[in-house]
Amino acid sequence: MKKERNIFGKILMVLTIVFFYMPIIFMVVFSFNESKSLTHFTGFSLRWYEAMLKNHGMMESLYVTIIIALLATIVSTFVGTITAIGLSKSKKVIRNLVTQINDFPMMNPEIVTAIGLMLLFITFKIERGFVTLLLAHIAFCIPYVMLSVMPKIRSLDPNLADAAMDLGATPWQALSKVIVPQIMPGIVSGALIAFTMSFDDFIISYFSTGGGVKNLSIMVYTMSKRVNPSINAISTLVVVLITIVLVLVNVVPMIQKRTPEKTSKNPWKKCVVGVLVVVLAFFGFTRFGSSIQNKPYEGQTLHIYNWGEYTGEEVLGMFEEMTGAKVVMDNFDSNEQMYIKVANGESYDILVPSDYMIQRLIQEDMLQKLDKSKIQSGLDQLNPDVLGLPYDPNNDYSVPYFWGTVGIVYDKTKVSLEDLKKDGFGIFLDEKYRGDIYLYDSERDSFMMALKDLGYSMNTSNEQELQAAYDWLVQSVQTMEPEIVTDEIIDNMAQGRKALGLVYSGDAAYIMSENENMGYYMPESGTNLWSDAMVIPKNAKNVDLAHEFINFMCTYEAAMDNSSYVGYTSPNLEVMDELSSEGGDYDGINAYVPRTGYEKDEVFEYNEVSRKIISDLWSRVKVVASNAE
């Protein structure tokens, strides 16, 4: 009987280990995959490692993660230890009070702590970035250090320090030569916990950082919408780094034991120093290896706030090569997310919002006028169809980045064109396709779809019409079991997981180029003819470089790389023509060339009242959808 239970235990243990390590092994294996697939291993290649090394945002985030973790660990270990010692001698009331407050980060949901810190930084107008990130990490690490040091102090002989001072030690010597060595195990485990917490943290970092400073978690979070095996590559790198550190920590003391005495008595110090050297050497090598040339913008930084997965693989590198400047890019999921961040004082040099948002930013006086003389050569290369659109009739503020329409991507093997022609957007209410549709998590375009299907203008501010659209959407989420996604739709539709989805034309172009069974349909009820454009906000710090960038993005080389990689329609006429003509990347893909001149198609306009209603109603739709599960 004893044996049986043991076998049960062993099996459970093995299964647990498998469960814990399967994702990690999976990650490592697929980082060497030749193709983009996350499910089929097609062959060995290092291309994702190349992509990772080229993507300096990724390397930067790893660097930030490690530096923050090390600094936070050092500071919080020091402060935590000192404070714990101090508290052990303080009055009970003070001790209890501090312990209570210390419990906040541990007893509160992390998101609450995170929001508290964000509000703190914003209320006191502290610009969020590396420093606030570090402060936040120190703040939540110290309580853990104290938690691990306190019991050790409590178990100390209270006369120890007195004895040391009686024998002539100064208070500082008593502390460093007697007390600290005694509580060393507690300090070490506290430091380890602090490092892990900081290294792993996402939620608090997510809310307390800014200015493009990202740690690994934030980077993965913003990149995870689309399949990107480079994430696996960088994760594998992390696994390797961690393994090295752990091996050092475990093996170095053993080696030191074998070669007794000669070396220092404290293996920890050596370990930490060793690890620091390895890490810094690694980054020193990758970061500063190749940048000592004379370029016009050498040493300057351009901060861009752009949509996720919205730039070609090479363009940023090309721009950096040309100007010598460094590009830091932050990503957003929606115009609203971008607006909130910018409105709260985050400073960027370039934003890439959509049409109606540009109109709003202009109205709220948040943009600077462009210096046309600096970008004229770029503007000349653009398609007249995307210039002079109603939100910015003279292109005083904005230069188009991408443009396109919104439509339905469908699986030709499952959906007939007749159904689409008959229903238009109404196909998202057709129960024939229940459980087989994707909606797009965008308040604007979801309402556009409903309003257009109902025959209203998508720019309506009529509350009844909006309410009708809300009901339309609620009906859809309640009866159709849709999945509300953002960029995940791209890979999922490319793999034909569902029959129908609401997409942007550029994504559709990419999907169709990956899977020939997919089609793109623009309903006859009309749709959204949108454009995203580059603008320079008022609080930009590097206006010259921003102009340089805008101009650069209009050039053939940049636009070509951008459009062919992302799949969205380029405003550069030559690029658009070339990609859609015979032999081009998007030859025969109707989604690539936007429908122009169709009278029912509209461009979004900004309206404060309807924005609020739509925003509120859409978050309600999502809540309803979530509850409908």
């Binding site: 814990f20 999976f26 501090v98 210390n102 509160n108 509000l119 792993d200 994760s235 909130i340 999502k622």
Partner: protein, 276 residues
Amino acid sequence: MRNFKQLAWPYIVWCAIMLLLPMLLIFAYSVMEQGNEIVHFQLTFDNYIRFFTDPDFLLILWRSLAIAIKTTIICLILGYPIAYFIANRSDKVRNILVLCITLPMWINMLVRTYAWIGLLSSDGIISYILGIFGFGDQELLYTETAVLIGMVYNFLPFMILQINTALCKMDKSLLEASADLGANKVQTFLRVVFPLSLSGVVSGITLVFLPAVSSFFIPKLLGGGQFFLIGNVIENQFITVGEWNFGSAISMIMAAVMMLLMMLVRKVDAKSGKED
């Protein structure tokens, strides 16, 4: 010796600014009228009223609690036997096993969760294995099951480690005493081992339940955009909608609910500890 006391003062100031003040700010925002400037303070409870009068938000809160409870229960059911198994190994084996459990926690949570996307997708390994056992063609990704797997995956180690610590701390002579008094293994477990490990169970529950309720990246990554939990609502309010006052109110409500639940759990623990 007395002058060591002063060592605590800098931190007390820091504590007030970095830990206490943020909480006060959330509270202040939550009882303020619309607007992200704290300068124009206008007391209102509308934000709270709005939450409590909207059945949809209440439902989301309930669903968040429900999924966190499910996660906690699964972690407990899986974690206890594992911890028990580990605690009963020799010192050497135990240290290795504990290291095995701790090791993945060193690797970024998001990264590990991201890996599950590939594993769970409909032509991924899990589906393939399920297919072998005749459960083919299950849609796993972007379902509640996926979110549950992600949560259990991320939080199970906490449960195991807490229970394991409690079990290891237990005086082995208590088990001998119980056997000596005529209790067989099962009786010893039910009457001695389990009640004495409750402190570990409770701190394990705290460490699993708390992050599970408020997590928003696990539902977002594995549950898809239509899988909204209370954490996502808060994130949404702050990041996309921009109604910080309402977001702050939800945060306060969540913090309050958690605190209540935690107090409840501790009370149950204290009580059951005293019972037979």
